[in-house]
Each structure stands twice: as C-alpha cells, then as structure tokens.
C-alpha cells in the first residue's frame, strides 16, 4: 500500500464511520453506534502515530490526491502534506477524539440522539484531519469551515434549548467574521503567487518582502496585509478578543464536545494556521505586534472573567480563552514551536478538565452550578484526583506538563524585543496569578468545603436538574474513568519528556520559519539546561510565586471562607457584563443590521423602486391606455398572444421596410 493510500485512510476512516452511523445508526443495534466510530478512530490514531514516526525520521510527505478544478492557467488541488507539525497535530486530534468517543458512551447513554452524536464527532475528526493535513490553502479553508459546521451542529445538539440554538448561530456567525478576513487573505495570496499550494507559496515568499499595495489611497505593505487578514481568521477560530464571544456560549453543547472541539482541537486551529504560515507572518513585524497584543489582552482579561463564573463549564471555558491567549502571545514573539508545545500540553490537561467537569456534572445530575457543589472528593475520588492533576498542570506547577510550556512562553516574551512585548510580559506573568486564582477557586469550591446541594432551597419545578438534598453523587462507570486516567498521564508527564526535543532539536523548527533577527526562541533554547534544571530554577522566579499567591488567595477565600477582599461594585458590574462585548453585539450591532435591512427594503425597494418607478410607469401607461380599455380583458395569456402577434408584425414591417 502506498503512503498516499495510507494517509488518505486517516481522514477517511472517521468520515466513513460518520456516514454509516449518520445514515443507518438508528436502524442498527445501539452498540454499533459507538463501536464503529471507536474502531475507525482508533485506526486513524494508530496510523497518525505511524505518520509521526515517518515524519520524525525526516520524510516530509507532500502529494496531491486529486485535481479539484482547473480554471484557465490555474490548477486547484486537494492533497496532503505531512511533516512533523502536521503529524503532531494529527496524533493529538485523533488521541483526544478517541478518548472523547469512549467517554461519550456513558455521557450520552440515555440521549435520544446517541447515534447522531457519534456521527457528528466522527465527522468532526474527519474535518479536523483534513484541516491539518492539507497541503494548500483551499483545503485548509475547507477543513476550517467544516469544523465550524460540526461545531455549529454540536453546540446546537440539544436543539430544543433556546440558549443552545442561540449559541450555535452566534458561534457560526462570529466565526464567519473571522473567515471573512481569512478568505480575503487567501485571495491576496492567490493574487500575488497565482497558486494556493503551500510549497510553491513558501518557496517564493521572500519576493513578498517590500511589496507595496495600494489601499484607500495610501500604500501598505502587502505582507502585513496578508498576515493580518490570515490572523483575523485565526482570531475567529481561536477565539481571540474581540471575536471570543462565541466560545463561552458554546458551552451549551454536550460536555464531551466542549472537551474535544472547544478546548483541545478546533479552537487551536488558529494557532496551527499562524504556525503553518510562519514564513509569511515572520516578514511583518507590524502583524507580529498585533498578534502579540491581541494575545496578551485575551490571556489576561479573559482569565480575570474566569474568577467570576459560577457555571463549572464556563470557568473552564474562560480558562481556555486565556490559555489560547498564551499561545497567541507565543506566536507574536515568533516562538511558534512554543505555541505548538502549549497547544500540545493544553490539549491533554484541558480535555481532562472538561471531561472531569463532565463527570462532576453527571454526578450532580446535570447541575452545573458550582454553588450547589462541595466536598465532592469524598464521593468521586478518581474524578477528584485527576481534576487536581489537571489543575496543577494548568496553573503551571513545576514538573507538570503545563509548567514547561507556559514557562517557556513567558521566558520567550522576556527575551523578545518586538513592539508590545513589555505589555505582553506583564500580561503573561500577571496571568499566572489569575490562572492560579480561578483554577483553585474552582477546585476548592467543587471538591472541598460543605456539601452545598444539601441546603439548596427545595424546588418543585419538574424540569430542574440536580441532586435532591438527601441524594449523594457517586463515581460513574469505567468508560468515564478510563479516559480521565489516560488523559491524566500525559497531563502530568508529557511536558517533562517532550520539552527537550521541542526546544533543543529541530523536530518542529524544521517546519517553521523564523527570521534571524527574531531572537526570543533562540534565547530560550540557549538558557535551557534540561527539564529538571528548568523546574528547579523556576522556584526562584516571579511566576512561580505568583502562582503560589493565587493558590493562597483562593485557599483563604474559598476554603477557609475568609472574605478579606470585597469586590468593588463597579468591577462586579463590568465582570457581569463581560466587558460589554455581548451587549454591544446584541443591543447595537444586531438591531442596526435589522434597521438597515428594513430601511433598504421598505424605503428603497418598496417606496422608491416599486411605488414610484414601477407602479408609476404602470399608472402612466394606464392613463394612455384609458382609451383602449375595451380590449383589456385582464387575461395575461391574451396579452402574451397579442404581444407575439405584434412582434411578428413589427419584424415584418421593419424587414420589408428596410428592403424596399
């Protein structure tokens, strides 16, 4: 079997699973609904590991699968490129997907949409693989929009919930704003290079430097324009401010997909995109600074919001936003491999946090309010331990995976000299405190303290979820626990074992382009003396102690319940409105759109065009035809008949007249 066929199988297997289950899932016995996708996604995962093995040994696969179309001199193709960057993404995507497939067996067990759900997550796996394996911008865009589609379908999975169908439309439309920029970027690439193939574009990318482009009467650098447009696409998918508004709402979807799509894989597509186009982005310091600043704002301000959330999934969602901000910061300081590294470790511990949250939600009988939880460590020990491990990884506890990736990013920002790096450094370092505070707040409230659901006011509402005061939560079955444990292992260890190859070797760097004048990453590499040394060294640095401070504050506030800080009213208000982004969209942007539509329709179309011009001329004609009213029968067929006859006469007259 050729490598091409093998690589084609990787995305095709989940697609086949999706189609089979989507079309016949309800006819087949229920067990097939999860068995077929799991087996095929497992196959995909194993082949992805094989692809990683091959590319690790230095073979970059790049071939076209088929010709999509030919237009004039342009050929557009569908094909695969598998280098280390791609192979790493493929492995992460298929692994997390596999875990989520298994976990779903229990989580969605009694849902009437059981087979539909499996069909969707397999379809997602296919789309995400097409996105990362692409060897051109066209297919990248296909995967990009296809994951958006599946995200739309899954956020709105419970289509009866008004909040869910609001959230999924919002997610799709906000992403479309990003795609709008992305598509323009792709069109500019086509305009300049005449091809969308990565290899050809990147091989001629140096000719781009210094190209000017006329825009609004002034000339701008073409490479900056392309970079910023592509980054706008990344901002949509990777939920960077101000296009982040869809991600917290996406929590309306079932928890397994929050883990898979809205934490581990799809939202990191933007990070992957910018890394992939590093040869272009590197040429524009303006674009890099913009990326850096957007990332910093997201990392810091979204983290702060996480402190004020009471829905367990929303806390984790804001944490995801903040961590995506960290990855974007790494992109901004030209440390693409570090962004990928954080993406990699984050995929494990954030998926674990979400699946842990899901386990808690099952235990609490679908109550997501943390103010009804407490002391769950007693009832759900495995969830508790794994959740704690994920929390430690997230806050950057030395030796845990998250520590290595986040600490290297902070280091890189420190060495960077690009405009905005001092603000980014502040945001990244202060963000460590924020991360620690919201993470331990969540941890203490959920797993320690009193059992709050027991003194919950009694509700007589039938539809209310949650435990009654005399019930106790309990751990669920092995299909939930197994993924938790399998994800906990890499959450703890993988950073320790992979930092060396990522920082020291050319494993990722050979697929990335970094300008020699952008020194941040090479400085990090220079100061790196092994993972143990790095962890020990960190004990004497500011970020570590800020993390400890965050822990202490959370401990006092939420474990000891000592309220030594009072949130000022104004701050509380700003936090409740989440800085007002949603309000702006809902009370200003949306009504303005409707207003404009109505004005154009009712005034332009109806009043001016129809009433004045069309009916006006009809009336004028009526005036003249007053005399001929007798022959107006009102039957359009007769009009048509008269018209044809008239035309024939007209033609005859003209031609005969012309001849004679």
């Amino acid at each position: 079997m050729t490598l091409m066929k093998l690589y084609t199988l990787i995305p095709m297997m989940p697609l086949i699973a999706s189609i089979v289950i989507g079309l016949f899932g309800r006819q087949l016995p229920k067990v097939f609904s999860h068995l077929i996708p799991i087996v095929l996604v497992l196959g995909s995962f194993l082949l992805s590991l094989y692809a990683l093995y091959i590319s690790y040994h230095g073979y970059v696969f790049n071939e076209n699968l088929f010709r999509w179309m030919t237009v004039g001199q342009y050929d557009l193709n569908i094909g695969f490129m598998v280098d280390n960057l791609t192979a790493l993404m493929m492995s992460v995507v298929t692994f997390v997907s596999l875990m989520v497939h298994i976990y779903t067996i229990e989580y969605m067990e009694n849902d009437p949409g059981y087979s539909r759900f499996f069909s969707f997550i397999s379809l997602f796996t296919f789309a995400m693989l097409m996105l990362v394996m692409s060897n051109n911008f066209l297919q990248l865009f296909f995967g990009w929009e296809a994951v958006g589609l599946v995200s739309y379908l899954l956020i709105g999975f419970w289509y009866k919930k008004p909040t869910a169908i609001h959230a999924n439309m919002k997610a799709f439309l906000v992403n479309r704003v990003g795609d709008f920029g992305f598509l323009l970027g792709i069109a500019l690439i086509m305009f300049y290079f005449g091809t969308l193939d990565y290899k050809e574009v990147f091989s001629r990318v140096d000719t781009l430097a210094g190209q000017e482009f006329m825009l609004m009467g002034s000339s701008v650098s073409l490479v900056t324009l392309i970079s910023i447009l592509l980054f706008i696409g990344a901002m949509g998918k990777s939920a960077q401010v101000p296009l982040h508004v869809w991600l917290p709402d996406s929590m309306e979807g079932p928890t397994p997909i929050s883990a898979l799509i809205h934490a581990a894989t799809m939202v990191t597509a933007g990070i992957f995109l910018v890394t992939r186009v590093s040869p272009i982005v590197e040429l524009s310091n303006t674009a890099l600074s913009l990326i850096l600043i957007v990332g910093s704002i997201t990392a810091l301000f979204m983290g702060i919001l996480g402190i004020f959330q009471n829905d367990i999934k929303r806390v984790v969602a804001y944490s995801t936003l903040s961590q995506l901000g960290y990855m974007t910061i790494a992109l901004g300081v030209s440390s693409y491999s570090l962004a990928m590294f954080h993406l990699f470790t984050h995929a494990f511990f954030k998926a674990l946090l979400f699946l842990g949250a899901g386990s808690v939600i099952i235990g609490m009988h679908h109550d997501q309010n943390i103010m009804n939880m407490g002391n769950l460590k007693k009832y759900m020990p495995i969830t508790w331990i794994t959740f704690l491990l994920a929390t430690l990884a997230l806050v950057g506890m030395p030796f845990f995976s998250g520590f290595y990736s986040k600490e290297s990013i902070i280091e890189a920002v420190k060495y960077s000299e690009i405009v905005g790096s001092s603000f980014a450094y502040f945001a990244a370092v202060f963000g460590v405190f924020i991360t620690s505070l919201y993470s331990f707040r969540l941890y203490f409230i959920v797993f320690h303290g009193e059992e709050r659901w027991r003194n919950k006011p009694i509700s007589h509402n039938h539809h209310d979820h949650g435990l009654t005061t005399n019930q106790s939560p309990h751990e669920t079955t092995w299909v939930v626990i197994m993924p938790l444990i399998l994800l906990a292992i890499p959450s703890v260890l993988i950073g320790f074992f992979t930092i060396e190859p990522i920082i020291k070797s050319s494993f990722l760097l050979k697929d990335i382009f970094i300008l020699n004048s952008h020194l941040a990453l090479s400085q990090v590499t220079e100061h790196f003396h092994g993972p143990i040394n790095m962890a020990l060294h960190a004990l004497a640095t500011l970020p570590f102690w800020l993390m400890v401070l965050g822990f202490i504050v959370a401990y006092l506030l939420y474990y000891k319940n000592i309220n030594f800080i009072k949130t000022p009213k104004i701050l509380k208000k700003v936090m409740d409105h989440k800085y007002g982004f949603d309000n702006f969209n809902e009370y200003i942007l949306a009504p303005l759109t409707i207003r404009l539509g109505n004005v154009l329709w009712k005034y332009m179309d109806i009043k001016i065009i129809d009433n004045f011009f069309v009916n006006g001329s009809a009336k004028t004609i009526n005036l003249f035809s007053h005399i001929t009213k007798k022959i107006q029968t009102g039957f359009i067929s007769q009009y048509a008949f008269v018209m044809v006859i008239g035309l024939l006469l007209f033609i005859s007259y003209f031609i005969l007249g012309g001849k004679s």
Partner: protein, 491 residues
C-alpha cells in the same frame, strides 16, 4: 450525431402537446404517470449531449443548420458548447423533478400543469441551444407564455399584480433586445450569432447595443435595481413555478450575457465595467440586508437568489478566468440549491398552508429528515465548502481580488450576511421547541419528497467536492469567450 439537439428541444414540447390533447380522456393518476414518464424521457434524451460531448473541443458541437426564412437569411441553427451544456442538463433535470413531485401539491388540472412545464422546458433548452438570433428570440418570448399561465392559474391571491409586473419588466427589455438584433442584421445581413461576434462596431454603437441587451438580461437575472418583480413572482407562483423560475429562468439572463452582450460589445463592456461591478456589489450587500429582515420565507429565499445572482454578474463582469468560471459555477450551483430550498418551502406550505416564518418553530422535532436536508441546503446557500455554493463564491472572490481589493472586500461580506439570513431562517423554522399542535402533527418527507431532496443534495455535494465535473466541460469554451471579450472590436 446531428439531430440530438433538436431531439432535446422538441421531445418535451411534443410530449407536452400530446399530454394537453389526451388529458381529458385520462384519470388524474394516469395523467400524472404519463406526464412523469414524458418528463423522465425528456431528461434522458439530453444525456447523449453529455456523453458524446468532446471536452477538448472549444467550438460548437452537434450543429444543425436548416434554412428557415430564406428571404431574411433566418436559419434554424442550433449548436452546443461548454457554456450551454450544463445549463441544458440542469433544465431537463430540474423540469423532470418538478413534474415528478407535482402530484403532491397540484389537484387542479394536473395534465395542463405538467404539459406547461414540458413545453417550458423545451423552450428554455431552445434558448440555450439557438445560434440564430431570431430563433433565440422566438424561444425567449414563447417561454413567457407557459410561465404566465403557471403563475396565473396556479398562483397565489395576488397573482395578477405579480404577473403584470413580471410582464412589464420583461417586455420592456425584450423589445430593446429585438431592436439590437435588427440593427445587427442590418449591419451583417445575417441573424447568425457567430456573425455578430466578428462584426466591428464603434464604441458608441457598442454601448447602445450593450444597454439594449442589458435591459433584457438584467431584468431576467435580475440585477439591482430591476429586481423587484422577482420576490412578487415567487410569492405568487406555485412551488414548481418558483423552482423553475429560480433554478433556470434566472440563468437565462446570465447565459445571454455570456452569449450576446459580452462578445458582441466587448469594448462597451470594458467601458461600462465599473458601473456593472457597482450594481453587482449593491446586489450582493444591499439585497443581503433586505433578505435578513424578510418575514415570508419565500421572499427571503427570493432575495437570497438576487444576492447570489449578484455574484454571478460580478464574476462575469470582472473579466478574468477565475471570476468568469466562478460566476458560471455559481449559476449551476444556485440551480440546485435554490431548487431544493423552494421545494423545501413547498413541503412546509403543503402541510401548514403558511409561509410566515413566525408560524413555525421546532419543525425538526416532527420532521427530522426534512430538518436535516434543510440545514444542509441552508449551509450550501451560505457557501459552505464541500457544497456547490462555496465553489462559485470562492472563485469569484479570488477573481475579484485580481481586479481590486475593495471589490473582493465587499463581495466577501456575503460570508457574514449570507450565513446570517440562512442560519437565522434555520433557527426560527427548524430548531427550538415545537411551537404548536400543528407542528407536532407534521409528517416527515414522503417517498417522492425524499427522493427529490436526496438527488439535489447529492448534486450539491458532488459539485462541491469535485467541481471539475462542471469546469472541465466549460473550461475550453470559457477561454474562447474570454478571448472574444478581450479583443477590441473598434475599427
């Protein structure tokens, strides 16, 4: 292979006449079955056009030429190239689907209804195949008669206003087109379109000719600001009429731009390009806003069609290969997607007798299969990659960028607004809790409806995944056409 073009045109017309004659003597069921068989055969006879078509040959194939009115050198001249072939297949295929599903909705005079569609189908194919201006003109005008009848007899309550509006708009344009043909005849002493292509003309004359054509074709496609007949016609037309109107009749405008206006007056085209692009962009953006606020779902899709046709005209008038091919693919793609959406609205209308969006909510609860199809077509309508809706928009945006950044910028806004009206429609109709008992009692698609939706879905996906299906046919001919346009005709 001569003769297959005539067969493609006259088979449905003759069948239509036969059906018209025998319908009184047959029961309704039998009439439907016979009509359906006729429709299917009429579709089958167009398949040889595709099978024997030579993709590598850029000229006209299977030409037939017989003298018709010798005195004025008017010929019965037919020919097929890559531009007309996909449209012919689309016409015969969609016409058959409309006939196939007619038994669901039409109780009154079904034989008459089906024969109107058969005749209409033949006449439209005639428009796509005619290479003689007068022959073309006869098909073009004759086609209006069955369409008027369809709206006038099976239409809604306000059908008289809608037909008259349609009539006024169309007649005004057609007459000017005829004047242009007669002028060209005076110049070339021929009605052969190919002779028109080579005739040198001064810029002033070209501009006048272009504007005469423009009045006819811009109304048909329709372009802003001569578009207001379309929503009214759609609202009043029966489901089948809407499907044919959106899927094929609008394309007659686009096709005719390619066949006449562009190659006959290329210098005028370049001269008027900014104006034409401006109108196209207005259609794309302005009409999208209008579509967002519609409360009648048929009107919403009608406005969406106008916005999509804005992409067609933008692509054609941007005058480069990417735009041209994109505009063309958009026509074919819109043929399938708009047909599916109008069928879908018909499915709902037959069950609920309302087109008001606010009367619906949570349809997917009682009609899960229908709901899935609707989501798919709404996504296709908003240009999702993997569906045919993406291909045209993508190419047109790439083409627009070659011309100017801001043109691409405004055209790309459709990504946002197209998704807004499509998905908001889905949210209000398909998703949510069941609104009332009527919706709870809805029955999902029956066998015929399922078949129609499935084949349209398959076509939409097939073109989206492998657009070379179409572009391999059109590639040679579009290069010829673009070549003609780029050659100045000023002496």
């Amino acid at each position: 292979m001569t003769g297959i073009l005539s067969i493609a045109i006259w088979t449905p017309i003759i069948f239509g006449i036969i059906l018209l004659l025998v319908q009184d003597k047959l029961s309704t069921t039998l009439t439907y079955r016979l009509g359906n068989l006729f429709g299917f055969i009429s579709f089958l006879v167009t398949l040889p056009l595709y099978i024997y078509f030579d993709k590598g040959f850029s000229g006209f194939q299977f030409q037939e030429i017989y003298p018709w009115i010798n005195h004025f050198s008017i010929n019965y001249h037919l020919g097929l190239d890559g531009i007309s072939l996909p449209l012919v297949l689309l016409t015969s295929f969609i016409s058959w689907l409309v006939i196939f599903i007619s038994s669901n909705s039409i109780q009154r005079a079904i034989g008459f209804y089906i024969s109107a569609f058969l005749i209409l189908s033949g006449l439209m194919i005639g428009v796509f195949l005619a290479l003689d201006a007068i022959l073309y003109y006869v098909f073009w005008e004759a086609m209006l008669i069955p369409m008027f009848l369809l709206i006038g007899i099976w239409g809604g309550p306000n059908r008289v206003y809608a037909t008259i509006k349609f009539f006024l708009y169309t007649v005004l344009g057609s007459l000017l087109m005829l004047v242009a043909f007669l002028y060209l005849y005076n110049q070339t002493a021929s009605f052969a379109i190919l002779d028109f292509y080579t005739k040198p003309l001064s810029l002033n004359i070209q501009v006048l000719i272009f504007l005469a054509f423009f009045m006819a074709f811009a109304v048909k496609i329709p372009m802003w600001p001569v578009h207001t007949w379309l929503p009214d016609a759609h609202v009043e037309a029966p489901t089948g009429g809407s499907v044919i109107l959106a899927a094929i009749m609008l394309k007659l405008g686009g096709y005719s731009f390619i066949r006449f206006a562009m190659p006959i007056s290329p210098d005028a085209l370049i001269f008027l390009k900014p104006f034409l692009i401006g109108l196209s962009l207005i259609a794309i953006v302005y009409i999208a806003f209008v579509a967002i606020v519609q409360t009648d779902m048929k009107k919403l899709i009608a406005y969406s069609s106008i916005s999509h046709m804005g992409f067609v005209t933008l692509g054609l008038f941007i005058l480069n290969p990417l735009g041209f091919e994109g505009g063309y693919v958009q026509m074919i793609s819109h043929g399938f997607i708009s047909a599916a959406l109008f069928f879908a609205i018909g499915v709902l209308y037959e069950r609920m007798h309302s087109r008001n969006i606010s009367d619906y909510k949570g349809v997917i609860n009682s009609m899960p299969i229908f709901g899935s199809f609707f989501v798919l077509f709404a996504m296709a309508n908003s240009g999702l990659p993997g569906t045919s809706g993406f291909v045209g928009e993508f190419l047109v945006i790439l083409g627009a960028m070659q011309d100017h950044f801001w043109i691409a910028f405004f055209a790309s806004l459709t990504l946002i607004f197209g998704a807004t009206y499509s998905l908001w429609l889905v949210k209000r109709i398909i998703f949510g809790e069941v609104k009332n008992k009527k919706i709870a009692a809805l029955k999902d698609l029956n066998g015929k409806e399922f078949f129609v939706m499935s084949v349209l879905a398959l076509m939409t996906l097939a073109i989206g995944i492998y657009p070379a299906l179409i572009t391999d046919i059109t590639n040679q001919s579009s290069q010829v056409m673009l070549g003609l346009i780029q050659q100045s005709k000023i002496l």
